[in-house]
């Protein structure tokens, strides 16, 4: 906070150096600081990418992308210049079975990189893969690591020693369970970083993070929706608040295969009895907008509106139930034990009572919750009724629809939604390069989901960032920080 140091809150602990083991944004937070990629996201409010290591990069055919690297981009610790061999090594290793890469699906139909010169190469895909520009290259899987150093270490970047880096910062130490301490990388080939030291501090609890910000112990943190209005109305001295629409999608899912919900009218009645505006007010403090589907505004495939309006229609719900010959409906919802979701469930409970539906709330901690719909873990997935979930998202619609194909039943498709048309569209949209066509296909897919009566979309939520005046943060459009681009004010 003294101008040369930057403290950024991480809500979980990034815990790997090696992209093979990466599981999500927290690693990206770290990799962004210490590694580079061919292309990277542009900070700001629009989704776009820009060259990073690449001097030039272009789609040469539906299944090939040619790139040339900038000259003189150096590895730390005397490992020399970054070459096309490094790019090939970094991307190809995800495809090797034994490497157990956890982010392999991000690469889609990618097969391999062909090295055509010391600084040039071609990326090959089996079939056209649209998300390669929005996910594969600028996100975790596109991270370039040092081939020589990694091979010397036995093919994997171990946690034993700080890795060879290429980004603006390098690792000084990892205090397990507490923080990562990064130093400015003096061997960085780009414009030197603004901060001598960056700490990525693990603060799980939101209230604690806010307090830490207030006490000056962190410079940048996301805060919960409850505090947005208060801090927005009168921010503490030396502090700014910025609210971004987020990409997540929260929804109430309904297991359409559950015999209880065999009658479509029952499903629809339930959907009509969920009042999204009340939920926005009670659980999201009116800072987030109701969602129209699983794809957020600003992305390809975003729907302008839902089929069933967000406001509940209890009379209609009652009518539908009567038609189905049901007097009182007892149903259960499984939710994760975070405040927002338990609040949502309580509001739903109160609202649904008005339509004669008794909602029982079952709360689970993470471990138990996330395996509820997983077939490998017992029979619970078949008996599921309602669930309240939030999935995270990347800026490509493919990433959202992927979980709802028939194949995912027993894994992530807890609604057991199964539609041939949907599966087909998902497959085709993957290789569709015309944005307008893609847009239409994804909109249709969300209509299909909604029509099944298995989904009530709630919101994409917001990311509210609280930060010190002394820094200029850089974030993606969805508000997630790109620490490598943070500057001093």
């Amino acid at each position: 906070a003294d101008g040369t140091r930057l403290n950024v809150r991480a809500y979980l602990e990034p815990d790997d150096y090696d992209p093979l083991d990466a599981s999500g944004f927290l690693e990206e937070l770290l990799y962004g600081c210490i590694y580079r990629k061919l292309i990277q996201y542009v900070p700001g409010d629009e989704w776009a990418w820009q060259n990073d290591l690449a001097e030039s990069i272009e789609q040469t055919s539906p299944t090939t992308i040619a790139f040339t690297l900038k000259q003189g981009q150096m590895w730390s610790d005397g490992y020399g210049e970054i070459t096309a061999e490094d790019v090939k090594f970094s991307m190809d290793r995800h495809m090797v079975e034994e490497n157990n890469s956890r982010i392999k699906p991000d690469l889609g139909t990618f097969t391999h990189v062909e090295v055509t010169g010391s600084h040039s190469g071609i990326i090959h895909m089996e079939r056209p893969f649209a998300p390669i520009w929005t996910i594969a290259l600028p996100y975790l899987a596109g991270t370039v690591i040092c081939k020589q150093a990694t091979e010397e270490a036995g093919g994997k970047i171990t946690t034993a020693v700080p890795p060879t880096v290429s980004g603006p910062y390098r690792v000084r130490e990892h205090r397990l369970g507490e923080r990562w301490v990064l130093d400015r990388n003096p061997e960085f080939s780009g414009e030197p970083a603004d901060f001598e030291r960056v700490d990525l501090i693990v603060i799980v609890d939101e209230a604690a993070a806010e307090i830490a910000k207030e006490a000056g112990d962190v410079d940048f943190t996301a805060i919960g929706p409850a505090s947005v209005q208060r801090l927005g109305d009168n921010p503490p001295a030396g502090t700014q608040l910025k609210v971004h629409p987020a990409l997540f999608y929260h929804w109430v899912g309904l297991n359409v295969q559950n015999p209880k919900f065999e009658d479509i009218r029952v499903r629809q009645a339930i959907m009509h009895a969920i009042d999204v505006p009340s939920i926005m007010q009670a659980a999201f403090f009116d800072v987030a907008e109701p969602a129209t589907g699983i794809i957020a505004p600003g992305l390809i495939g975003h729907r302008p509106e839902t089929l069933i309006p967000p406001q509940a229609d209890f009379a209609r719900a009652r009518e539908l139930l009567d038609e189905a010959g049901i007097d009182r409906l007892d149903i259960n919802i499984d939710v994760l034990n975070n405040v927002t979701h338990t609040t949502v469930a309580q509001v739903m409970q109160a609202m649904m009572a008005q339509a004669g539906i008794d909602l029982n709330i079952s709360v689970h901690e993470g471990g138990s919750f996330w395996s509820l719909g997983v077939a490998a873990d017992g029979d619970r997935w078949q008996d599921l009724e309602l669930t309240l979930k939030r999935f995270s998202m990347t800026p490509d619609p493919y990433y959202a629809t992927a979980w709802f194909v028939s194949e995912q039943i027993g894994d992530w498709n807890w609604e057991q939604f199964s539609s041939e048309e949907f599966d087909q569209l998902h497959d085709e949209a993957l290789s569709e390069t015309d944005p307008a066509r893609r847009d239409e296909m994804y909109r249709r897919m969300q209509d299909l989901m909604e029509e099944s009566g298995g989904y009530r979309f709630l919101t994409h939520g917001v990311t509210a960032n609280l930060f010190a005046d002394s820094i200029v943060p850089a974030t993606r459009p969805d508000g997630l920080p790109l620490v490598q681009h943070f500057r001093r004010a």
Partner: protein
């Protein structure tokens, strides 16, 4: 027996702290019994317009994030607190009593094994055990009760065992044996009545601890189901919204502190009065 009771109550009434303690406990029992009558609002009624209201004439202790009346919730919560505390303490006490007596009376190997079990049960940190069990069991009051029972029966067991052991070799037990008294008679007529004193003291002192454990579990999101008006849930809400509405946590803490004061002082007063060593004065 009547003479003894009479003097015990009399003696308790002479101790100002004990009187305060009994008043608090009586007050809490009244509130629990009359929760529906004295609550100005329906404890579960949401009123989003009035949420986060500060204490006022309408909402004596303010409202929470869903606009529910905190006072009514706390009043209702006293039932839960009493229910959880009493069930948990009764069950763990009963288990502890039986095992403790068996350990005290049994052969050495049995005593050693039971002691070992007590020590093992004691080795689990409560909250950490709660975490593990919360994953196994459905959420609810019964889980809280089970956690408390598992972690605290050993305490009763130890106390009862120690007590039984010392009684077992007491002269008056030998005297009973010398007269030919049967085992059952010795246990039920002579040991049990003497074990119950320290046992009840411990139970009184443990009641508020149970309520605190419930609060801690609610904080970690493994306590009672959402919507349940337990004190712990109110504290947890207060914690989440402390920057917006600092009074929720204070309101939630108040009954907890009162009850702890009540039961602890009652327990201590009982101990002072029942323990002949302390009673003697110096």
């Amino acid at each position: 027996m009547t003479a003894f009771r009479h003097t015990l109550t009399g003696r308790l009434l002479a101790d100002p702290l004990a009187v305060v303690a009994m008043l608090i406990i009586a007050g809490m029992v009244m509130v629990a019994l009359l929760a529906d009558v004295i609550s100005p609002h329906d404890y579960s009624a949401m009123n989003l317009v009035d949420r986060f209201s500060p204490p006022s004439a309408t909402y004596w202790l303010g409202t929470d994030n869903l606009g529910r009346d905190t006072f009514s919730r706390l009043a209702q919560g006293s039932r839960i607190a009493l229910y959880v505390a009493l069930t948990a303490v009764t069950i763990s006490g009963a288990i502890g009593l039986v095992l403790g007596m068996i350990a005290g009376f049994g052969p050495r190997w049995l005593d050693n094994s039971l002691l070992f079990i007590f020590d093992t049960a004691r080795a689990y940190p409560t909250i950490i055990l709660a975490l593990a069990l919360a994953a196994l069991l459905p959420r609810g009051l019964s889980t809280v009760v089970i956690v408390v029972v598992i972690t605290s029966f050993s305490e009763y067991g130890r106390v009862v065992r120690t007590q039984t052991l010392s009684l077992k070799n007491a002269e008056f037990i030998l005297a009973e044996r010398a007269m030919g008294a049967s085992f059952g008679r010795i246990v039920f007529h002579h040991i049990l009545p003497n074990v119950l004193g320290p046992f009840f003291i411990l139970a009184a002192m443990n009641l508020p601890v149970v309520i605190t454990i419930e609060a801690g579990m609610s904080f970690l999101g493994i306590g009672v189901p959402p919507g349940t008006p337990s004190w712990g849930a109110t504290l947890k809400d207060g914690f989440d919204y402390i920057r917006t509405t600092p009074w929720i946590i204070l309101a939630g803490g108040l009954p907890l502190i009162l009850v702890t004061l009540g039961f602890t002082f009652l327990g201590e007063a009982l101990r002072d009065q029942l323990d002949p060593k302390l009673r003697k004065g110096r």
